[in-house]
Point group: C2
Chain length 144, copies 2
Amino acid sequence: MHDLIRQAEALCQRSGMAFTAPRRRVLEILAASETPMKAYDLISKAGEGGQATKPPTVYRALDFLCQLGLVHRIEQDATFVACNHAGHSHPMALFVCNTCLKATEVAYDEVVPILEKAAEVQGFHLTRLVVEGRGQCRDCALAA
Amino acid sequence: MHDLIRQAEALCQRSGMAFTAPRRRVLEILAASETPMKAYDLISKAGEGGQATKPPTVYRALDFLCQLGLVHRIEQDATFVACNHAGHSHPMALFVCNTCLKATEVAYDEVVPILEKAAEVQGFHLTRLVVEGRGQCRDCALAA
DNA sequence: CCTAGTATGTTATTACATAACACTACCTAC
DNA sequence: GTAGGTAGTGTTATGTAATAACATACTAGG
């Protein structure tokens, strides 16, 4: 799991950005979590042990990590998850299991041009795309 | 614009659901709005004139209208928009213009099987799909 | 040094959403 | 017709998500 932290360090170094304590802390917590986390769970977790951590600190760290593609925000339910495929920035869909709540990342490169074309027909030029889903993951399907 | 209201009435009648006053009110306000609305703008708008309207009333109406497909929730920014293509339930992507904030609905039937297949490869069975975008609409592109 | 840029700390507030319970209207089975 | 269920609304209170605004600290370049 500490691969992610090392990747983050490297990524920041290359782009001349600071991988500061709160950013590291937030990423560590997310990387250790099996499931996507809500912001306020993250805030209280980050505050455990050391000094109290306030919302802006965590939200700023999250913004930073999201921009780097190390963390994704799941719009459906306002949760955050560490990215398994850090570094590169493939378009990735996030599918969340209704049972175990784990998130699965799925590449959707194929559909991007289709959606872009469908939008363009109506004169709409896409700059950002959000693809998310809900359903049942393999493990939970087998368990049932 | 009152087409939508009439459609809603018909739809409710057919399914034996009540198209009550708060539901009608919320739908009217959304139908009259050029752009998607935030929940609390809706709440204060609904409260204008008559009696005060509280959050639960509006949220309940929104849940109801969303289930019927008469209204869509835009997850990216927690706004709500009346559906232009009411009644049927095609999968529809919502693309929001960064400039004028209007929402454009785009059918994405084609991409559903692709995403389903991509998910299935990882053993994930999709039950719900959210596709949203940001960008620039035709009018704003021409104006620029 | 000192100052411009970047990031964090802190307080307060705004915005989004729902839990819980009381009440009403309507319908239907007896 | 009346008891009891169902569906919906009204109301209070609270929980949860996110940011504004301003003060403070760290660091690199002149």
